[in-house]
């Protein structure tokens, strides 16, 4: 080794051959790349979707894209880690299988605000409407920005078929019926969200606003995972008491 490194050694010669040097550098960076990617890409079934996992509904996908647009992932994670305090605070630990239909992944890398992986069903729809309009109306100490424009800006769902088609091309199992009926499905779900908000005493006329999509998306987070946990619990039978 020492002779290789001498001022008249073999490495010195490579330092005079830029092409060889470049090729060696490329090889050096490809090793780690291939080792870490090969199993997850080449092994069929490396990432199996949860049995209970369903793709996002068209309205939920629209809401997810709003979440991305507003940059919510910059402050909120969606990844419950296998720690006692996280399970107690958020719910069941996040699994690979439940994120199999997510493109892009939204696991996040910072919790300026709480994790949202299990927020679905935790609050009523009206709470989310109020919270987006003014976070401090539901959580006085919150530092989250207000997103009042979500209640006034019209929801654009005309390109939903294109969005579903793109997701299908990437491997999310949308059916032809879902793609063709995407706009109608979204409108129907939007109407039901808006109705629930109205009945709870919230603002009227939200069915064609962006807020219903955002609410639909947030209310879906963690549902499929909880369903998987419940299914497993039911199958396992009563929990044995440790002696």
């Amino acid at each position: 080794m020492p002779r290789f490194l001498r001022a008249d050694g073999a490495h010195r010669r490579i330092e005079g051959w830029p092409l060889v040097f470049t090729i060696l550098t490329v090889l050096a960076i490809l090793v780690g790349t291939l080792v870490e990617f090969a199993p997850i890409f080449l092994v069929h079934g490396a990432v199996e979707p949860l049995a209970t996992l369903r793709p996002w509904t068209p309205l939920e996908l629209a809401g997810r894209d709003l979440y991305i647009r507003e940059g919510c992932n910059n402050c909120h994670s969606q990844m419950v880690r296998p720690f006692q305090d996280e399970v107690a605070r958020y719910g069941p630990v996040s699994t690979a299988g439940e994120t199999a239909y997510e493109t892009p992944f939204l696991w996040g890398s910072k919790r300026t605000g709480p994790d949202l992986a299990r927020v679905g069903g935790k609050y009523p729809d009206l709470w989310h409407v109020r919270h987006m309009e003014d976070p401090r109306s539901t959580s006085p100490q919150s530092i989250m920005p207000a997103y009042a424009h979500l209640l006034t800006d019209p929801l654009d769902i005309d390109d939903l078929p294109a969005r579903l088609r793109a997701n299908r091309a990437i491997g999310v199992p949308y059916t032809d019926a879902e793609i063709e009926g995407a706009v109608a499905l979204a409108r129907a779900q939007a109407d039901s969200v808006a109705a629930r908000v109205r009945e709870a005493g919230g603002p009227d006329q939200l069915a064609d606003r962006e807020i219903v999509a955002m609410v639909a998306y947030l209310q879906r987070l963690g549902r499929d995972a909880r369903a998987a946990v419940d299914t497993a619990r039911t199958a396992a039978g009563p929990v044995a008491v440790a002696h």
Partner: protein
Amino acid sequence: MADPIPAPPAAAPASRVAADEGRSRFEVFTYDDRIESGFVLATVLWGFVGMLVGALIALQLPFPEANIGPYLTFGRLRPLHTNAVIFAFAGNGIFAAIYYSTQRLCKARMFSDVMSKVHFWGWQSIIVAAAITLPLGITTSKEYAELEWPIDIAIAVVWVVFAVNFFGTLWRRREKHMYVALWFYIATIVTVAVLHIGNSLEYPISLTKSYPIYRGVQDALVQWWYGHNAVAFFLTTPFLGLMYYFLPKAAERPVFSYRLSIVHFWSLVFLYIWAGPHHLQYTAVPEWAATLGMVFSVMLWMPSWGGMINGLFTLRGAWHKLRDSVVLKMFVVGITFYGMATFEGPLLSIKSVNALSHYTDWTIGHVHSGALGWNGFMIFGMIYWLLPRLWRTPLWSERLANVHFWIGTVGILLYVLAMYTSGITQGLMLRAFDGAGRRCTPDFVETVEQIRPMYWVRLVGGTMYLSGVVMLMVNMYMTIRRAPKQLPDPAVAIPRTGGLALVPAFAS
């Protein structure tokens, strides 16, 4: 830079013959300093813009009323800040370092002046496109890769132009041996291309919206293979190249060890790629991937400190020069922060440490000690060294430059110490259980209330750092104002016979 060989004094006809003879024995060419000046100006301008956005988002956290929706909310501005400081500030700084040092290390002008200009203006246009699209919410959400696919294509095209220009210069070089800085530039250029293309593969549905071709766990692994190696090959390797050129120049000392440079170059380039999954500890990625990320990150400490040692030991026998040189002050503190950040990084990669630190401000503190300390200060040192040389006039105020150094250093310390405090506080609060098995902090928002004062301290630190950049801008403006009107490119004369056989100045 050498002056053209003067003609020997003699009677008129004989002197002309002698001058012609002299000129035919030498190859005379010039270095392109105009492009260099452009990159220096762009670096400082975008540094100011990117850090100003940083100060605004730092204000928005403890003072949410500063979110001016819908375009100027934290969620939309944070990617603008990261893209501006990484690709606009550090990016132009890297190009300034590469264009200046490569020409001189190769003893050759850049391969193509046209490509230099396409690279420069192409890159600035990309930054403007980012500044427009990100506040509009046109984003992929993937960190440091938020720009949508049309801009991704532009980045790839400009990067290829840059690569051809750089490798073309290597091809045309008169100095046969490649100095260590050039190895780091090669690693930067090829790896950034691979990472960018790999992570930007997307399925577009319109000019402003696309979906990554990867899903779930695959997308996470690809994203952090990219994200961590953006740090490695955009924020580390080109800056090590910068260090290897500008530090020995400024200190007028040889680099400490040739052998160390070989060993740490190859181990750095090989190990760094594996470290990506340390961003995904205890997430849904397979455990073997996370463990590999941890182990290789810990190993990465060594080649990183190899770079630090080679840099700092270069100043053996020259430490007294720091007193009178703001350039050396910047470089020494920069390299020291590099050492601290590359110790902290492996530490944070260890699963048990990461269990506390992940998702907290400790990560933010870590990033900013590296970014403000290493990247920022190395760029400032380089610019203070370049300003008198590019504009052929002394720096307007050494004193102001020194104030910049001190206010910047104190700013960094306030920033990172505030973030360590808030990160560790929040991490400990969230995981605490009392004797009866109940969570001590049932509401997440209680941790936010606790750490809010630290957000104000961080704002103060960051604003101090930004004010240092303003001082640099003032100094730069006043220096350039005094520059001579004519700034011809520096000329070099190389003897035609035999060529140069430069031995790099290494101590061992």
